[in-house]
């Protein structure tokens, strides 16, 4: 009842304010009239009676104000009033408003954009069932596992609700018009149920599928289904041809489904896998193991469980089960980018803080200019809290405006981020503005409004009334406290900007260092593409070798092609297989310590085509074919490791454990080290075998040996050769799949895209910070000069030279700037250590960067101080004092 009445009162007060006001007027008027009548009856004259009644009523306006204050909704009312008033004040000084909104929008926009990336990539749970309980079990936490080991772990462990394996597969989708090499995964049948993702159509694999004879079934990804099958609603139950064999489509996954999340991320079809035939295979490591912790089992327990099992297996099968790690799936997915993203988040937070500091001292200066207005309001009875509330409303309004513009910037920024983001950035497809991010932006906008507004508002509301009136609009001497506050804001802006600039500087040095890495090959004018024979007539044993040779002949015959060759896995872009090797005449290594080399298989002329210099010996020749003596080319790294200080040419290597009938290959060439998997990683030992002597590559069934990567050297316009080269290949057989057409320049650019992306962002943020800081210093110094016009005028009148004035103003500004720079250097020393993982070839405390960037910042600060200082020297003393 009471609530109902209060709501009714609120309604009336807010919507019928004028009615309520009129009624109050009438009520008080009748009160005064009756009081006057009473006085008249007591013998006063009519005039006196009315006057005394009014005096007794004690100021009708005050009474009305008091009545208004007890009314329901008075708070809403004053807030609305404050907002209207604030908006009016902002409109009245558009220059200030626009500058503040731009600064805030930059800060809020950048923060929102980066936060939406961090949210999508780092914070959100993986889109599977029980995402927090999913782990991967891999050698060193990264490398694949042998089938027999997986089967033992699954059987012997007790910590997991489920454990499944995935294996990479690249089948050719044939039939229809053109063949296409696809990214796929073979999965043990319990994988998809463990992930708990339901198919859009059809079903996932049943437990007994994957057994030989029942393994030709396939679940399609949404993208592939749309692209190749036009979203055919009746696809389930039909057959598709993979590597020339018929597979039945049993289901289609929803568009949001991605698997696996950290490797083979482009997979868009999944087939069942049986490990029955490999149950004793402990050598070839090809499986990635995914498992779900049983409810209530901690990661530590699961680790102990796996550690115990692998220790036992190591005893039983020496040389296997080394360094097996259980890692949360999420860590495996985002672990590599987490530091970089957190650095970026820190950077945008700095930009936001600088923007806030900037707007804060704009507000301080404005508050000083508004002293008179505030004094008038105080004199009219506004309380201090009322003034603070009014000023805060204004700054929150500014924050909200900045938020709206910032949001637009963020929407734009996110698009750019997604477009530029390196392919190593996981879950990039989920990045976008959404409710969570919007809520954050709202909170940030309001908080920044309060953050930069509170101190100036508190300052402004403390003022000496009589002082303000006495001085009027005159430039009075500034309060020491306010001055100190302004200097602190300016110094902290500079300090924050310096930290950002140093971070950006370190990234630039990193990038330069990365650019100076010698790839070991000459990427200019080289085009590459993957050529898959699986499923075509060329796949047959006895056909593959001639096909590859014929392909190279036709490509070399194209006008403008200088040379052409092929390799199994392209450096930087392709897979890298580790392969154990043994050196003839050297003692056998201990079990588990056999060295490995990156395993490459090449066509003749590979080194010439790629521009990899040979230090000794020769390239692979056409004559290095079946029946000819087995030869091998090794890289410098292997030569130094196996034959330090000797010439390895003529020595022999085996890729099988030496026995009486081992195949020994004679080293015929030593190449310079070429980049392998990571751009910045040190070179590992590497072997190059002629394809034409490699039975596995010429005859084996497996999809992993049924393709080669064609490389050709043409002019600078290598990319333009793609259509002609493709036609040349298809002129032999249209069933061959050609994919991943890219220039080596692109490959190199992709390999360095991660650092480039972070560099770009940091440089953008640091530049914004520098501009904001420069504008801030300029603003503070201009304001200081304006406030001191009178004083400077007197100094000049008393004989100070313009150079003295210049020194005075610049000295004041640079004093603050240097203090800020000092704080910034200390901050940077602490903070840049957090980004040492992103750096290459430069230390986090690199003195050159620190000195250079600090000098740059001081120069900018000097320039920003000089302009107002020069203006100060031109002050006309007479004019300055006349204005008093």
């Amino acid at each position: 009842m009471a609530l109902h009445r209060r709501l009714a009162a609120l309604w009336r007060n807010l919507l019928h304010r004028q009615g309520a006001e009129r009624e109050l007027d009438a009520e008080l008027e009748s009160y005064v009239a009756m009081l006057a009548e009473e006085r008249e009856r007591a013998g006063m004259s009519a005039g006196d009676a009315r006057r005394s009644a009014l005096i007794e009523a004690g100021g009708l306006e005050q009474v009305k104000e008091d009545v208004r204050d007890v009314r329901a909704g008075v708070l809403i009312d004053t807030i609305a009033q404050d907002i209207r008033y604030g908006a009016r004040m902002l409109v009245k000084s558009p220059g200030f408003t626009i500058a503040a909104v731009i600064a805030l929008a930059l800060g809020i926009g950048a923060t929102t954009a980066i936060l939406s990336v961090v949210d999508a990539v780092l914070l959100r749970p993986l889109p599977y069932e029980h995402p927090d309980r999913l782990v991967v079990i891999l050698h060193h936490g990264t490398d694949p596992v042998a089938p027999a080991n997986f089967l033992d772990w699954r059987e012997q462990s007790k910590s997991f609700a489920a454990m499944s394996a995935a294996e990479y597969w690249t089948p050719n989708l044939t039939g229809a018009d053109k063949s296409e090499k696809l990214w796929a995964l073979k999965l043990t049948t319990d994988m998809l149920p463990m992930l708990g993702v339901h198919p859009l159509m059809g079903r996932v694999f049943a437990a007994d599928e994957g057994e030989p004879g029942r393994d030709h079934e396939v679940v399609l990804g949404y993208g592939l289904w749309q692209r190749r099958f036009a979203g055919n609603a009746k696809i389930v139950g039909t057959e598709v041809t993979l590597n020339g064999e018929a597979y039945t489509v049993v289901g289609v996954m929803p568009g949001t489904f991605r698997f696996a999340p950290f490797w083979a991320t482009k997979s868009e079809l999944w087939v069942p896998m049986s490990l029955a035939s490999q149950s004793t295979q402990r050598g070839g490591n090809s499986l990635r193991i995914f498992a779900q912790l049983a409810a209530g089992v901690s990661l530590a327990q699961a680790r102990a469980d796996i550690a115990a099992i692998t220790a036992r297996l190591r005893q039983e099968y020496p040389g296997t089960n080394g360094d097996v790690r259980v890692v949360p799936l999420k860590d495996r997915v985002v672990g590599d980018v987490r530091p970089a993203l957190l650095v970026l988040l820190g950077a945008v937070a700095f930009v936001l803080l600088i923007a806030c500091a900037n707007v804060a001292h704009m507000l301080l200066a404005r508050a000083a200019a508004r002293q008179r207005e505030i004094a008038v309001r105080t004199a009219l009875g506004a309380s201090r809290s009322r003034i603070v509330r009014q000023l805060l409303t204004e700054s929150v309004l500014l924050g909200a405006l900045g938020g709206v513009v910032g949001l637009a910037l963020a929407a734009l920024g996110i698009r750019v981020l997604v477009a530029l983001g390196p392919s190593s950035l996981p879950r990039v497809e989920t990045i976008g503005l959404d409710g969570r991010v919007l809520l954050f932006t709202l909170a940030v906008s309001l908080l920044t409004g309060v953050g930069f507004g509170l101190v100036p508002a508190m300052q402004a509301s403390v003022l000496n009334l009589s002082e303000s009136f006495k001085e009027g609009g005159r430039a009075g001497s500034e309060g020491v406290r306010r001055n100190r506050l302004r200097s602190m804001l300016m110094a902290s802006e500079l300090a924050l900007a310096l930290v950002l600039l140093i971070g950006a500087g370190l990234m630039i040095r990193t990038f330069v260092a990365l650019q100076q890495i010698d790839p070991g090959f000459d990427p200019r004018g080289v085009l590459s593409m993957t050529v898959g024979v699986a499923g075509s007539a060329e796949s047959a044993p006895g056909r593959r070798g001639p096909f590859y040779q014929q392909m190279l002949e036709r490509v070399r015959a194209l006008a403008g092609v200088r040379s052409a060759s092929a390799i199994n896995h392209l450096p930087l872009a392709g897979d890298t297989w580790g392969w154990a090797y043994w050196i003839e005449g050297q003692p056998l290594p201990k079990p588990g310590e056999t060295p490995t080399a990156v395993y490459r298989v090449v066509m003749p002329g590979y080194f010439k085509t790629m521009g990899i210099p040979l230090q000794r010996g020769r390239d692979v020749h056409e004559s290095d074919a079946m029946g000819a003596p087995r030869v091998i080319v090794i890289n410098e790294q292997l030569a130094q490791r196996a034959w330090p200080g000797q010439n390895p040419i003529g020595h022999r290597i085996s890729l099988q454990k030496p026995t009486s009938d081992s195949v020994w290959m004679t080293v015929v060439g030593v190449s310079k080290n070429a980049r392998q998997e990571d751009w910045a990683a040190p070179a590992q030992a590497e072997v190059y075998l002629p394809v034409l002597q490699n039975r596995s590559y010429l005859e084996d069934d497996g999809a992993h040996v049924a393709y080669m990567t064609l490389v050709l050297r043409a002019g600078d316009d290598a990319a333009a050769f793609a259509p002609r080269v493709r036609e040349a290949i298809w002129s032999i057989d249209r069933g061959v799949a050609v994919s991943e057409v890219q220039t080596m320049r692109q490959v190199v650019a992709d390999a360095t895209a991660g650092p480039w992306f972070y560099l770009l962002l940091l440089v953008v943020f640091a530049s914004v910070a520098l501009v904001l800081a420069a504008v801030g210093i300029y603003g503070v110094m201009s304001y200081a000069v304006t406030r001191r016009t009178h004083e400077i005028g007197i100094r000049l009148a008393l004989g100070a030279k313009p150079s003295d004035v210049l020194r005075l103003v610049v000295g004041q500004g640079m004093g603050v700037a240097l203090a800020g720079a000092g704080a910034g250097i200390i901050g940077a020393l602490v903070l840049t250590r957090l980004m040492s993982g992103l750096l290459y070839g430069v230390r986090a405390s690199d003195p050159v960067t620190f000195a250079g960037v600090t000098a740059l910042l001081c120069a900018v600060a000097f320039a920003a101080t000089l302009i107002p200082a020069r203006r100060a020297t031109r002050i006309d003393p007479i004019q300055a004092m006349k204005n008093e």
């Binding site: 209060r6 009520e27 007794e56 004690g58």
Partner: protein
């Protein structure tokens, strides 16, 4: 004991207004006069505290108001107790009574 200026606590003023109106509906000046009467002049209610109190109490739902004619044919706003107001008067009177007894006991010893 001579009447002295007493600082009216808000609760006291509310109670006095409720008590004054318990005798029938009244306009603002009438309430002020009646409070003076029943407290033998100890309380002189000024409009600055009277009207905010009346409006607040009306919004609380203890009072209702309507416009009417005064004895001198003047339009005036009349206040009367609602059922909630009568209940409030009873609660506050009891409460006040308890405080008064306790206070006088405390001051006697």
């Amino acid at each position: 004991m001579p009447p002295t200026k007493t600082n009216l606590l808000q609760g006291t003023l509310d109670l006095l207004i409720l008590k004054a109106l318990s005798l029938g509906e009244m306009h603002g000046l009438g309430i002020a006069r009646r409070v003076g009467q029943i407290t033998k002049g100890a309380f002189d209610v000024k409009p600055g505290s009277l009207f905010p109190a009346l409006h607040r109490m009306e919004e609380e739902g203890w009072l209702s108001s309507s416009w009417g004619e005064s004895s001198n044919n003047r339009r005036a706003k009349y206040y009367r107790l609602t059922a909630a107001g009568k209940k409030q008067l009873k609660t506050e009177a009891t409460h006040w009574g308890r405080i008064a007894v306790a206070m006088s006991l405390a001051l006697k010893t």
